[in-house]
């Protein structure tokens, strides 16, 4: 026990532990279907020339999604719901979530879209809640992931691929 502890205190092992932690965490995100293959595609696009690509895209996604969710909340708050508007926004959200591989949000969007097509206000409100929930979950997860990555980079270790 003590030996292990001792080892872990060394710098290199700190990095490897962080690395392991990151790998495990990433795997868990995939396992729990927060992320899908598309997220890997994003990570592939990240390289020395473009070291913050994933964070950039995801940040853009956060910003965009929050705007869309706001608009959706507003749209569904109206006396007469403009389903076209709802449709449009949901489509956007669905497109971007699919693009970055946030698949649980994407799925929630599909359900949302179905409700909207049926002009089912109740269902839309429920879906909106669901989308919000999934969004905040994945946001947390991704932020944690980025934090871990940052830590790792700060510790001098390369990001695991």
């Amino acid at each position: 026990m003590s030996a292990v502890k001792l080892e872990s205190e060394t710098m290199a092992d700190g990095v490897s532990q962080l690395q392991k932690q990151l790998v495990d965490y990433t795997a868990s995100l995939f396992d729990e279907a927060f992320l899908d293959e598309q997220f890997n595609q994003l990570q592939q696009l990240q390289d020395e020339n473009n070291p913050d690509f994933v964070v950039e895209v995801v940040s853009l996604f956060f910003k965009d999604s929050e705007r869309l969710v706001d608009e959706l909340t507003k749209a569904l708050d109206q006396q007469t719901v403009d389903f076209k508007l709802v449709d449009k926004n949901v489509h956007q959200l669905k497109g971007s979530s699919s693009s970055i591989g946030v698949q649980r949000v994407q799925r929630a969007c599909i359900a949302f879209r179905d409700c909207s097509e049926e002009q089912n206000v109740e269902g839309c409100l429920k879906s909106l809640q669901h989308v919000k929930h999934e969004y905040s979950l994945v946001k947390n997860k991704l932020e944690t992931l980025f934090k871990l990555q940052k830590q790792l980079l700060a510790a001098g270790g390369p990001l695991p691929r």
Binding site: E37, Q38, N40, Q41, L42, Q44, L45, N50, F53, E56, V57, L60, F61, D64, K88, H91, Q92, K94, G95, S96, S98, S99, I100, G101
Partner: protein, 1005 residues
């Protein structure tokens, strides 16, 4: 007193005798087989029935004999006789009794008389003598013992009491004599009465019937009853003798006269089916001596078709010999018919049930299969995505700095990955076809080009010393309509198969018109081939080479020919006529043979050849690899397109795969207002191309070239493209060597450059295709060559350069590029292309090493995140792209700038991708932006500008490849895309692999 007594006695006797007269019934015992009523009892009933006696036809003599000789007959007779005897005995006994009584009485009387006389003579003795006789008689008639003594006692006593006169006096005697006299008188009287009675009795006895009469009466009654019972029964009863001649027959429905039957056999009487059988059956019974039943169907002219149930029993003589048969037949035609109907019904029901079960089973199996297939497809799909990731990453890895060992490992990895991908694609293709999801596209394409490109592609990756050749008959239309991608897939599949199994010799494609699929068998291809070859040598000097721009090198230059003398089949002529005269589309059947001189296919493997996962043997599978799906897919595809795929093969000699497909031929757009036509004339270069027979040949590369690429297969594949440039120069100037790449020293052979030259053309062609920049190059070329050349040169050069410099992965799969190129190259004339490539190469020759720009790509996408991701991916792939956010912006962008490719989101606000595409297509076809204006987009570019920018479109059919990006990868959505004029689609989210594939397809390099 005595008299009275006697009367009593007689009365007694009467009472006793009556019951012992005739037995009441001769056959009263129960259980007798022949039961008959007492005569008279039912006379009424019998009288009411009218008997028809004719049916019974009897040979009486025979009957007599029978009754004499057969057991049965004699027993019957014996029975009757016994009865008769019994009756007779009874009668005799009764008569005897009567007689006895009478004689007794007479004796008595005589005795009495004697007594009287004795009494009269010896009066003393009379008393004693009086008792004796009575006691003796009493003893004799012991039957009457009980009664007689009593009576006699009375009689005796009364006798004694009667004499009252004094004994022994005269008076007494007188009195006594008188009394006796009276007695005597009475006795005589009584005797007289008895005699009368006897007489009467005898008379009545005589009145009784004689035994014969009695017997015949009984028989008659039996006969009557038999008739009564049988009169309507559908039975025939008969007796036949040892020779099976009828001796007796009863038939209620007689159809023959007695003389026709009696004394004859069945065979003599009837003709027709069944007669012989019945005769044989009877014979059998006769021989075996055992009764038997059988059903026999007769089909005689006499009574038609009838089935009889026949019972035949043998008749034995007393000695135990069979002397004939009794036969009884019953007409069971109706029953048999019914029974047969029932049997048939039952059978049908059984069959129905069996079918049902079978059907259920099939349904079940089908369902299972479908499920399994679905599962397979899903699985395959799931596997494909990550796998393509692996492969494409590996491909990217090849572009990085690697040492030799790493490269080799990577090559193995890539080829394995490619194989698995191919397998999965095959599976998906198959399941698509089978589930009916596979949709065929109808696009115009040039069969010659397809053949050429397939061969080129094959030649490019050929690693054997094989000659690849292609023959396209001159009557094959220049352009046909069909699903070119699928056709190419089939051809590529068959060719690569052929190459795989061929170690030396050649592999080739022969394409020619057949008038009808049924007639196609008549045309013998080898002969045609021979003819071709012979004419090749004849016409060797004709100045019509280079029509396709292939036959760059001396020895092979003359293979493609204008061969009017060869036009053999009349079908071709008619075909041509069709083309010329009919303004609309006609259907033409093209037969394509893919032949090789390979290992062939053993006969026993032929049937399973097109089954999936089937390879000729496990050995082959090991040796040659492959998925075993290729042929199955080919077959499915060919059949899907309404054709047929067949194979003929001879082991160790080669195989020929043949498919015949119908294609639509559009004739209207081909000739008249095609601007290319002018170009053709102007260039007088291979003007006859459109109708000429084409012959392509790709000679084996030398070992040198083979070894030159020993580094890796990938680099090897790259070679043709590089060398391609020199090929294209050669087209114009003949100084081919001056243009050869110095670094390519290893391939000095002409053969190599043939092939390379071809690919060069390919490159050139494909370059000129994409709508925007490329097409206006062509326009400039033909109209104002001097002016336009500059821009054209630059563009082409850029692209050439680009193709060389960008990812080698573009080159990695030549087949894809080529197929795309063919698809794009739609309505243009070959000559035009030729001309273009001339121009291009002329200009490029000097600029070849200049650095150039990249193809222009437009991304139409409203989602920022998608834009960001896609942009980065494209960047990664070496492309910078223009981005617009909606359809209107896209239209404007197209107005301002020429793009080589447009990636179009389908679902967009303001104007969606479908409408945008339609507007762009409309512009391409009409040359004006009316559609855009209609949609409310103002033209921001003056038309003059457009002209200056090379937008002076004539409707030439050139198109910018537009690739849809759609969130719904479903087929119907794809249909919509295609219907709007999009060329392809990428399902979202966009991945590296997907976008790369599309770029490879639509961006020529």
């Amino acid at each position: 007193m005595v008299w009275e007594m006697e009367t009593d006695n007689i009365e007694d006797m009467d009472m006793e005798v009556l019951p012992s007269m005739w037995p009441e019934d001769i056959g009263a015992d129960a259980g007798k087989q022949f039961n008959i009523d007492k005569p008279g009892q039912d006379q009424d009933m019998l009288e009411e029935v009218t008997f028809i006696e004719e049916p019974t036809i009897v040979d009486f003599k025979r009957l007599l004999e029978l009754t004499n000789y057969t057991d049965k007959g004699s027993s019957q007779l014996a029975f009757l006789v016994k009865h008769w005897e019994y009756k007779q005995a009874n009668a005799v006994r009764l008569l005897r009794e009567e007689l006895d009584i009478l004689s007794k009485q007479r004796q008595e009387v005589e005795l009495k008389k004697l007594e009287i006389l004795e009494e009269h003579q010896f009066e003393e003795e009379s008393y004693g003598g009086d008792k004796r006789p009575i006691s003796i008689l009493d003893e004799v008639y012991d039957i009457w013992l009980d009664i007689a003594p009593k009576k006699h006692d009375v009689v005796v006593q009364s006798k004694r009491v009667e004499i009252e006169a004094e004994y022994d006096t005269v008076v007494y005697w007188k009195q006594r004599a008188m009394h006796l006299e009276k007695l005597l008188e009475a006795s005589a009287e009584r005797e007289q009465i008895l005699v009368d009675k006897l007489q009467e009795s005898i008379q009545s006895l005589e009145r009784q019937s004689s035994p014969v009469e009695e017997l015949s009466q009984i028989l008659k009654r039996a006969d009557n009853f038999l008739h009564f019972v049988l009169q309507n029964a559908p039975v025939v009863i008969g007796h036949q003798d040892k020779e099976l001649r009828y001796r007796f027959i009863y038939n209620h429905f007689p159809s023959l006269q007695e003389e026709d039957i009696i004394g004859r056999t069945d065979v003599e009487i009837f003709t027709g089916a069944g007669v012989k059988e019945s005769q044989d059956f009877k014979k059998e019974v006769l021989e075996k001596g055992l009764p038997a039943k059988r059903e026999i169907t007769f089909e005689t002219p006499l009574f038609g078709s009838k089935t009889f149930l026949i019972y035949v029993e043998p008749v034995f003589s007393k000695a135990g010999e069979t002397i004939g048969i009794n036969y009884m037949g019953m007409d069971v035609t109706d029953q048999v018919r019914k029974r047969e109907k029932m049997a048939k019904l039952r059978e049908e029901i059984a069959v129905q049930k069996a079918k049902e079960t079978e059907l259920n089973k099939t349904i079940h199996i089908t369902e299972e299969t479908m499920r399994a297939k679905q599962m397979l497809a899903t699985m395959s799909h799931e596997i494909r995505s990550p796998l393509s990731g692996v492969v494409s990453m590996a491909e990217i890895l090849t572009t990085t700095k690697l040492d030799r060992e790493q490269r080799q490992l990577l090559d193995v990895m890539l080829s394995s990955g490619d194989l698995v991908l191919q397998l999965i694609n095959d599976i998906l293709d198959l399941s698509k076809v089978e589930s009916g999801v596979m949709k065929l596209e109808a696009t115009k394409f040039r069969p010659r080009e397809v053949v050429k490109h397939v061969l080129q592609t094959a030649a490019a990756s050929l690693q054997k010393i094989l000659t690849l050749e292609g023959h396209v008959a001159e009557d094959v239309p220049v352009e046909v309509i069909g699903d070119v991608l699928r056709i190419r897939q089939i051809l590529t599949n068959l060719i690569s198969n052929a190459i795989k199994f061929t170690h030396e010799g050649k592999v080739g494609i022969r394409l020619y018109v057949v008038s009808d699929p049924s007639l196609e068998e008549g045309e013998r291809c080898p002969q045609k081939l021979n003819a071709d070859q012979s004419t090749v040598s004849e016409n060797g000097l004709k100045e019509d080479a280079d029509q396709e721009g292939f036959h760059v090198d001396g020895p092979y230059q003359n293979h493609s020919l204008n061969d009017e003398p060869r036009t053999p089949a009349k079908s071709e002529v008619s075909m041509d006529a069709d083309q010329e005269e009919e303004p609309q589309t006609t259907t033409v059947w093209l037969r394509c043979d893919v032949y090789d001189t390979g290992i062939g296919i053993p006969e026993n493997a032929l049937p399973s050849l097109f089954r999936r996962y089937m390879q000729v043997s496990a050995d082959h599978a090991r040796k040659y690899g492959g998925t075993g799906l290729g042929l199955a897919i080919c077959k499915q595809l060919v059949e899907l397109m309404g054709g047929q795929l067949t194979v003929s093969s001879q082991e160790h000699c080669g195989s020929t795969f043949t498919f015949v497909l119908p294609y639509k031929v559009s004739t209207s757009s081909d000739h008249s207002d095609d601007p290319d036509e002018v170009t053709d004339m102007a260039n007088h270069d291979a003007a006859t191309d459109e109708v000429a027979e084409s012959f392509f040949q790709f000679q084996p590369r030398t070992l040198g070239s083979l070894f030159s690429s020993n580094g890796s297969s990938r680099t090897q594949k790259l070679l043709p493209h590089k060398i391609g440039f020199c090929g294209s120069h050669k087209l114009n100037g003949f100084s081919q060597n001056s243009y050869s790449f110095p670094q390519n020293n290893i391939i000095p052979e002409e053969m190599a450059s043939v092939e390379n030259g071809c690919s060069a053309i390919d490159v050139a062609e494909t370059l000129s295709e994409p709508e925007s920049s490329a097409s206006h190059i062509s326009n400039h070329n033909c109209k104002t060559p001097a002016h336009a050349d500059k821009q054209g040169q630059d563009d082409t050069n850029n692209q050439f350069q680009d193709s060389r410099n960008t990812d080698s992965s573009y080159h990695a799969e030549p087949s894809r590029e080529v197929s795309v190129a063919a698809k794009l190259r739609e309505p243009q004339g070959t000559c035009k292309r030729q001309e273009k490539s001339d121009a291009d190469s002329e200009s490029t020759s000097s600029n070849i090493s200049k650095s150039t720009s990249k193809p222009k790509i437009l991304l139409v996408e409203d989602n920022k995140i998608n834009v960001m991701v896609t942009q980065n991916m494209m960047k990664r792939l070496g492309h910078s792209i223009d981005v617009v956010n909606n359809g209107i912006e896209a239209v404007r962008a197209v107005q301002h700038c020429s793009y080589n490719l447009i990636l179009m989101d389908v679902h967009m606000p303001i104007m969606d991708g479908l409408q945008t595409t339609r507007i762009i297509r409309s512009f391409e076809e009409t040359g004006n932006w009316d559609a855009a204006e209609k949609a409310g987009i103002e033209l921001t570019v003056p038309s003059q500008d457009a002209l200056q920018n090379g937008h002076s479109y004539t409707p030439s059919g050139n198109r910018i490849p537009i690739i849809a990006m759609t969130a719904n990868a479903f087929s119907e959505s794809a249909d919509e895309c295609f219907a709007s004029g999009m060329d392809s689609f990428v399902p979202k989210p966009i991945t590296f692999q997907k976008i790369k594939e599309r770029l490879e397809q639509y961006l020529p390099d």
